[in-house]
Amino acid sequence: MASERWLGVHFPLLKLEVCIRRLTGDAEVPVALIEDGKALAVNDVAAAAGVLPGSSQATAVGICSNIVCFSRDASAEDARLGLLAELAWRFTSHVSLAGPDGLLLEVGRSLRLFGGLAALCEEVEELYRGLGHELRLAAADTPLAATVLARAGTSSLQAVPLACTHLEPDVLERFANMGIESLGQVLVLPAAELGQRFDSELLAYLGRLVGRVPDPQDLLVPTETFASVVHLVSSVQDGNALLFPVRRLAGELASWLASRRLGASEIVWTFTALHGEEASLAVRFARPRSDAGALFDHTRLRFEGFRPPAEVMSVSLRAESLRLLKAVTRPLLPEVPGAGIHGDSAALELVDRLAARLGEDALHGIRVVDDHRPERAWSIRHVRQMHGKGGQPRQGTLPVRPIWLMPVPEPVRRGDFTLVGECERIETGWWDGAVARDYFVARARDGRQCWLFREGKGGKESEQKERWFLHGYFA
C-alpha cells in the first residue's frame, strides 16, 4: 500500500537498561552488562571511566571498583519490550515487535494527526527517553527497511552495514569473503546471480526490504491489565527509598494508560521481601486517573501509614479496574446538572486525598433507612457509592430525632431527667424483633437535651418495674 509508512524504533541499550531500572536512587553509578565474562554493554558513567564494551569483567572491576555488574536477563528484556510496544499505541494502532530490541509502528495514517514525521518522531523520543531508554528512529516504506535503518542509525539503505540486517552468519561471512559489507553493494547485484549463489531466502529477504514482496506484520493485541515489576539490586529497608521505584512504575503506568485512553480506579502495589514475605498496598481513586502525578502522590500519601516488609527486593504494580476516559476531560459546563457532588472532580479529589492517607475505612457517608426502630433507621454507606441523595427526601413533618444516637441504649434513672413534651410510641411486631418503647425528650441536670425511652407495654406496669434508657442527645 502506497500510504504505508513505517517507523522503526531501535533500543540499542535495552538489555542494559532493563538492569539499570533495578537500581534504587537517582545517583549515577557505572553499570556493565556481563555475558560470558565480558562486558556486553556499559552505561555512560562506566564508559567515561574507561570501561569499554568487550573488556573482561576483571578489567572492568579493575578500572572502576564501584561498577555494578549484571548478567543478561532475556525474559526481562522481552517483558520490557512488550510494555514499550504497548506504550506506542498512543501513536498508532499498528504496532508490532521487531526482533529482541526493536518496534515497528505503521504511522502512515498518524502523520497528519501529529503534524508530520519530524513532530511524531520528537514525541516518540520524548516518551521513551523519559522512561530511561536510549533509542534510534528511522522511517521507511517497508517494515524491514525501517528496522534495519533504525538498527544501523542511518537514513540510506545503501549505507546499512550487512551486520545490521537479519542475514544468517554464514551468509554474512560469504559476503565478507567477497568484499561486500554494505547493503548497497548487495542491492546492485543482479537478482538472478544472487539466486544462483545463495538460496531463495536471501532474494525473498531483499524483496521484502525494498517492497517487491509483501511483508505483513503481526499486530500487537492489547492486554487487558497492566502489570510491571522492578527487581531491586540490593534490599531496601527504608520506605522512602522505595519511592524511587514507585515513581518509576507510576510513570510507566501513566504512559500505558494514556496510550489506551484509560484511567485506573484502583492500583495495587506489591512489595516482596528477600525471604518471600509480601505486603500489598491498594490505592483507590474516586474517579479513574491516568496522570503520573496523581498516581504517585496518592501512593506516597498511603505510604505514611504503611509498613513495607524489611529488605524489599522487588516492587510490582498492577492496575486492574480500568475505565475508558471521556474524550473531553473538561466539561463544557462547569457542572453536569443532576450529577451532584459525585460528578464534581474537586469533591472526589478530596475523598481520594483523605482515603490515601487515612484509609478507605476512615471515610463514611450516611443514609436514611425506612425502618421503625430508631437504631435501624439509618446506615453507613461507602463514600464511593454515594450517588444521589441519602435516600428519597420524605414529605411532611418528620418526627423529632437526636443528632447523636447512642449505638446501644444506656440504662438510666428516671429521676435524673425532666421530661419535656409528649410521648412518642414506637412499636414493631414480633417478626421484626419486637420493640415497644415510649420515647420522650428530656432534659438532664447538666442541661443536655436527651432522648429517653421507657421500655414495656406502655404505662400498664407499675413504676418500679419501668426501665428507662438514654438513647441519644439533641446536640
Binding site: I341, A347, H364, S379, P402
Partner: protein, 228 residues
C-alpha cells in the same frame, strides 16, 4: 438623635470595618445572633463553639446555616472526628442533604489535624465541623486551621469544652454556649468571647428549633368542622 461616642458605637457593633460585609457571612438563622456577628458565621474562617457539655444543642445552632449551604453549594459538609456517628434521620429533619455529608474518622490526633486542614484547604467543602483532642491541641494548630479555612473558602467550626475559654485562640470567632432551663422550648444562652470588629458580648438568647410534638398517629374520630 443622641450623640454616640466612637467607643460606644464599636461596643454595640454598629460600626465595623470594611472587611466584615454581609456577603462574607452566612446567616445563622437566628436574627439576634446575626446582628451581633454582623451578618452571621464566617463564610471563610474558623469559629469555635465552646460548651460545658456535648448535647445541649450546639449542632442545632449550626443547622440552619448548614441547611442553607446544602441548598446553595455543591460542596461537602465534612465532619472530622465526631464523637458519635450523626443520626441520619435527625440531619434529614434539619434539612441537611445527606448526599453531601462526609464523615472522617482518623485514627489519632495527628491524622485528625491533617484531615481537618486538608479538608479546609482543598476548597471542596463548604463547611467542616471538627472535634480534636483538647490536651494535644496547640495554638499554632488552630492558626493553621484558620488559614486553611480562609484559603479554601470554608466555614470551619471547632467544638471545644468551655474550659478552653481560659486559653487564647487565633480563631476569628469564639462563642460559648450554655443550655437555658426553659422547657418546653430549648434555648441557648450565647456569650460571644471573640468576634471580628467588635467587643465580646454576653447573654444572647436564641431559641433552637423547638422539638414539635410527635405526630398524632391515632385517627381523628371527630370530623373537621365544615367551613360552610
Amino acid at each position: 438623635m443622641e450623640v454616640r461616642f466612637l467607643s460606644d458605637l464599636l461596643r454595640r457593633g454598629r460600626l465595623h470595618s470594611q472587611r466584615s460585609r454581609t456577603e462574607d457571612c452566612l446567616a445563622t438563622g437566628f436574627p439576634e445572633l446575626d446582628e451581633e456577628l454582623h451578618g452571621g458565621w464566617p463564610r471563610a474562617g474558623l469559629g469555635e463553639v465552646l460548651c460545658a457539655a456535648s448535647g445541649i444543642g450546639e449542632l442545632r445552632l449550626l443547622a440552619p446555616a448548614l441547611k442553607g449551604l446544602c441548598e446553595s453549594e455543591n460542596r461537602w459538609i465534612v465532619w472530622v472526628n465526631p464523637p458519635h456517628v450523626p443520626y441520619a434521620p435527625a440531619l434529614e429533619r434539619l434539612g441537611i442533604d445527606l448526599g453531601k455529608v462526609l464523615l472522617v474518622f482518623p485514627k489519632d490526633h495527628r491524622e485528625a489535624l491533617w484531615a481537618f486542614e486538608q479538608t479546609l484547604a482543598t476548597a471542596s467543602c463548604s463547611a467542616a465541623l471538627g472535634w480534636l483532642s483538647e490536651s494535644r491541641l496547640r495554638f499554632a494548630d488552630i492558626r493553621r486551621l484558620q488559614l486553611a479555612a480562609r484559603k479554601g473558602g470554608a466555614w470551619a467550626t471547632l467544638f471545644r469544652p468551655a474550659s478552653a475559654t481560659r486559653h487564647a485562640s487565633p480563631a476569628e470567632l469564639r462563642i460559648e454556649a450554655a443550655s437555658l432551663p426553659s422547657p418546653p422550648a430549648s434555648r441557648l444562652r450565647l456569650d460571644i468571647r471573640k468576634r471580628r470588629s467588635g467587643w465580646p458580648v454576653e447573654g444572647i438568647e436564641v431559641e433552637l428549633d423547638a422539638p414539635p410534638a410527635p405526630p398524632d398517629r391515632r385517627l381523628s374520630l371527630v370530623p373537621a368542622a365544615e367551613s360552610a
